[in-house]
C-alpha cells in the first residue's frame, strides 16, 4: 500500500515491533524474580485541540511513553523506549520504538544489539543492528556499528531502508579528544563512503573543536565545522565556521556549479556575573544575498529576555521573547513565555506579525510523580489562531 512516496506498514520491519515489545514484556515479567530492580518511567500526555498548520479539523491527541532500564546480572541490561499514541503528520503510525537494545559489558568494552542510536558530531544514526565497542586504557577505543536505518514509527519509506555501517577509533575525553571514523551511507542516489575526524584541543587558553568529513567516493570535503572559544574573566568569547556540501545526485542536472549549503560564520560573547547571563551572537551567511542575524539574550533569576533581528536580502525579521519561571515551595513550578515577531518581506508582503503565549505549571508530588498542566496560544499568518492545552502525568518507579 503506497501513499505518495511512502510505503506504509512495511511487513519487513514488523519483527522489530515484536522483538521490542517482547523485550519490554520480558523485562517486566522477570524483573521481580531476578531481583534486579528495573527503572521504569511512564509519561502520558493528552492535549486538545490538536491543530496542525492548515488542518481545520480539531482533534484530541495523546501519547504514552514507556522507558524501561532493566539490569540483568552485573554486566547486562535491557533498555527500551517505546511510545504509543495518536497519529500525526510527524508520526504516521501509533506505535513507535525509539530505542530497544540489549547491552552486554565485558570489562570496559560492550556489545549492543537491537535498535540503537548514535549521537555524534559527524553523523547521527538510529539503526536496527549491532554495535561493539572495545575500550583500552592506552590504545583508545574502537567501535563498529552496523545495521539498517531504523524507522521509528514503522512507516517504512522507500529511501530509508538501506544498510548502514561505521567504524571509529577514538582517544581522549571531554575537552581533549580525537576520533577517526569511516562510514557508508546513501546520499542523493548512490551509496557513498566517508571518512571523518573530530578533534578537541586547548591551545593558548583557546578551546578548539572541529569536525570534518571527507567524501571518499567523490574525493572532496563533505562537511566542515570549527569553533574557537575562550573564557576571559567573566566573558566567554567564541567564533566559528560551518559548511556542508549538498549532495543532490542527478536532481538538477542543468546546474553546472557545485551545489553547497552556504557557509556560515558566527561569533558570540557570553557574560556571566552575579547570577546574570548575557549572550550576544551574530551569524553571517556567505551567499549571494546579504544575510545577517543578531540575537541577544539576558537571563537572571528565572527571567529571560531574548531579542532577534535579522536581514536576508529584502526580508527582515525582528522579534522578542520574554520568559519567566518561578518555583513555589518544593513542589510547584510555574513558567510563562510570551513572544512577538514581525516578518517583513519587502514589497511582496507587508509586515506580518506573529505572537504567542505559553504557560506551564508543574507539580511534583514526591520524586517519582509529576503532573504538568500546559497551554499555548499562537497567532500568525500560517494558522491564524492556534490554541491548545493539555496535561502530562509522569511516573517514575
Amino acid at each position: 500500500m503506497k501513499t505518495n512516496d511512502r510505503v506504509i506498514f512495511s511487513c519487513s520491519r514488523h519483527w522489530v515491533k515484536y522483538v521490542s515489545s517482547g523485550l519490554a514484556g520480558i523485562t517486566l515479567v522477570f524483573s521481580p524474580v531476578r531481583g534486579s530492580r528495573p527503572s521504569i518511567h511512564l509519561s502520558s500526555t493528552l492535549v486538545t485541540p490538536r491543530l496542525h498548520l492548515t488542518e481545520t479539523e480539531e482533534t484530541t491527541a495523546w501519547r504514552n511513553l514507556l522507558v524501561i532500564r532493566q539490569p540483568v546480572g552485573s554486566r547486562s541490561e535491557i533498555f527500551t523506549s517505546l511510545e504509543y499514541g495518536s497519529e500525526n503528520p510527524y508520526w504516521q503510525n501509533s506505535f513507535r520504538v525509539h530505542q530497544a537494545y540489549w547491552r552486554q559489558r565485558v570489562g570496559k568494552s560492550q556489545l549492543k544489539l537491537g535498535r540503537l542510536t548514535q549521537w555524534n558530531a559527524l553523523r547521527n544514526l538510529r539503526i536496527d543492528g549491532g554495535e561493539i565497542v572495545i575500550r583500552t586504557e592506552k590504545a583508545g577505543s574502537l567501535k563498529l556499528l552496523a545495521g539498517v536505518k531504523a524507522v521509528t514509527d514503522f512507516s517504512d519509506t522507500t529511501f530509508m531502508d538501506y544498510p548502514e555501517w561505521s567504524l571509529s577509533w577514538a582517544k581522549g575525553g571531554w575537552g581533549r579528544s580525537l576520533e577517526l571514523s569511516a562510514w557508508s551511507e546513501y546520499l542523493g542516489t548512490a551509496r557513498r563512503t566517508f571518512t571523518g575526524i573530530t578533534y578537541q584541543w586547548k591551545v593558548f587558553g583557546w578551546r578548539y573543536g572541529q569536525a570534518v568529513s571527507f567524501d571518499l567516493t567523490e574525493k572532496q570535503i563533505h562537511h566542515f565545522r570549527a569553533r574557537f572559544s575562550r573564557t576571559i574573566g567573566v566573558r566567554q568569547w567564541a567564533f566559528g565556521f560551518r559548511q556542508k556540501r549538498y549532495v543532490s545526485g542527478e536532481i538538477y542536472p542543468w546546474i553546472k556549479e557545485s551545489l553547497r549549503i552556504a557557509p556560515t560564520v558566527f561569533a558570540d560573547v557570553r557574560r556571566q556575573r552575579n547570577g546574570m547571563q548575557v549572550w550576544n551572537q551574530i551569524t553571517y551567511r556567505i551567499q549571494s544575498e546579504f544575510s545577517l542575524v543578531w540575537t541577544g539574550t539576558l537571563e537572571r533569576d528565572g527571567l529571560s529576555v531574548s531579542v532577534l533581528a535579522g536581514k536576508r536580502d529584502k526580508s527582515t525579521l525582528t522579534g522578542a521573547t520574554l520568559g519567566y519561571q518561578k518555583t513555589i515551595g518544593n513542589s510547584l513550578t510555574a513558567e510563562m513565555t510570551a513572544a512577538y515577531h514581525t516578518f517583513n518581506y519587502g514589497a511582496i508582503a507587508g509586515p506580518s506579525p506573529s505572537s504567542s503565549l505559553r504557560g506551564q505549571i508543574r507539580w511534583s508530588a514526591g520524586p517519582g510523580f509529576q503532573v504538568i498542566f500546559f497551554g499555548q496560544w499562537a497567532q500568525n499568518p500560517i494558522y491564524s489562531v492556534d490554541g491548545r492545552g493539555g496535561v502530562t502525568i509522569h511516573v517514575a518507579l
Partner: protein, 276 residues
C-alpha cells in the same frame, strides 16, 4: 495462542533454587566499633580507574590477617557446601567509576558510601545510590559544561568523550530533546513556525542536526502545498531563455531547501523549462 508461550517462561522463573553463597560483611562493626580504616581492606582503591576491570574487594588472605580462615568457614560464607570466591561476590556495577580520580580530589570514602555505617551484613547493603553522584555532579556541573554548552555540545560528541555522559544522563537523554517531539515543545515553542524558514535560510540553526530535512519539510511544503513566500517575488521564475529569474540564485544559495519540493523523481515542474 501467544499468551501460552509465556507460560513455561513464567513457571521456570518461579522455581525454587538453592541459595548461592554470599559473604555478608558487617561494615558497621568493622568501621565503627573495630575502627578499621577503609584502605586496610580496600587497599587498591586509590589506584583504581575502573570498577569493571579492577575488583576493590579484599582477598581472603586479607581477612585472614584478623580471622581464622582455615577452620571457621561459616563465619563468612552462607553456603559452605559451595563457597564462592570473594571476587564473585562483587556488586552489580552498571556504570564505570574511577575511585582514583575522586580520591585524588581529597574526597572521603563516606561522601559516597555513607550507607555502610548502617550495613550490618544481614541483607545485601547499598554501597551507593545515584543520588550520591548527583549531589556533586548536578549541583556543580562538569568543567566542560561551559556557558555555551546547550548550543554547542554536539561538536564534542564522539566515541572518546560520550561514555562520560552516562555518569549523569540516561540513555534516552538525547532523545528527550532530539526525538520525542513532545506536545509541549521545549526547542521550537510558540510562534516558531513563523520564523523557521528565515532561520533555515540564514543559518541561525542547523536544521539537519535533528531533522531529516527533506522528509520533515516535505510534510507541509509539498503535501500541503505551502509555498515559501519568496516564490511570489516578481521575476522569481520566467520563461525567457538565459533569464530564468531569481530562483536560480536561490538554488545556488540554499539548494537543500529547493529539494524539499522540487525533485525530478516526483515532480516535473522544473522540466517545463529546463528539459531543453
Amino acid at each position: 495462542m501467544w499468551r501460552y508461550r509465556f507460560l513455561p517462561l513464567l513457571m521456570i522463573s518461579f522455581l525454587p533454587a538453592q541459595e548461592a553463597d554470599r559473604i555478608p560483611f558487617p561494615h558497621d562493626f568493622h568501621v565503627q566499633e573495630a575502627e578499621i580504616e577503609c584502605v586496610i581492606c580496600h587497599s587498591n582503591a586509590s589506584e583504581s580507574q575502573s570498577v569493571f576491570t579492577q575488583s576493590l574487594l579484599p582477598t581472603m588472605e586479607t581477612c585472614g590477617d584478623c580471622h581464622d580462615i582455615d577452620d571457621d568457614c561459616g563465619l563468612c560464607h552462607t553456603n559452605m557446601d559451595e563457597p564462592l570466591p570473594l571476587a564473585e561476590s562483587r556488586p552489580q556495577y552498571t556504570q564505570d567509576f574511577s575511585h582514583q580520580n575522586h580520591l585524588e580530589k581529597n574526597m572521603e570514602c563516606s561522601t559516597c558510601h555513607a550507607y555502610i555505617l548502617e550495613d550490618d551484613g544481614s541483607t545485601p547493603g547499598k554501597l551507593w545510590q545515584p543520588v550520591d553522584c548527583q549531589n556533586c555532579h548536578q549541583q556543580k556541573k562538569p568543567e566542560f559544561h561551559t556557558l555555551d554548552w546547550k548550543q554547542n555540545h554536539g561538536l564534542g560528541m564522539n566515541l572518546a568523550s560520550q561514555d562520560r555522559c552516562e555518569v549523569c544522563h540516561t540513555s534516552d537523554f538525547c532523545d528527550q530533546c532530539h526525538q520525542y517531539q513532545p506536545f509541549e515543545p521545549k526547542v521550537h515553542a510558540g510562534d516558531y513556525i513563523q520564523r523557521h524558514g528565515f532561520e533555515a535560510r540564514t543559518g541561525v540553526t542547523d536544521c539537519g542536526t535533528c531533522h531529516d530535512v527533506e522528509a520533515t519539510c516535505y510534510t507541509c511544503h509539498r503535501q500541503r502545498l505551502i509555498m515559501p513566500l519568496d516564490h511570489s517575488i516578481p521575476n522569481w521564475a520566467n520563461r525567457i531563455p538565459g533569464e530564468g529569474g531569481r530562483h536560480g540564485e536561490a538554488a545556488l544559495d540554499s539548494p537543500e531547501i529547493c529539494q524539499v519540493c522540487h525533485r525530478l523523481d516526483r515532480d516535473a515542474t522544473c522540466l517545463d523549462c529546463h528539459e531543453e
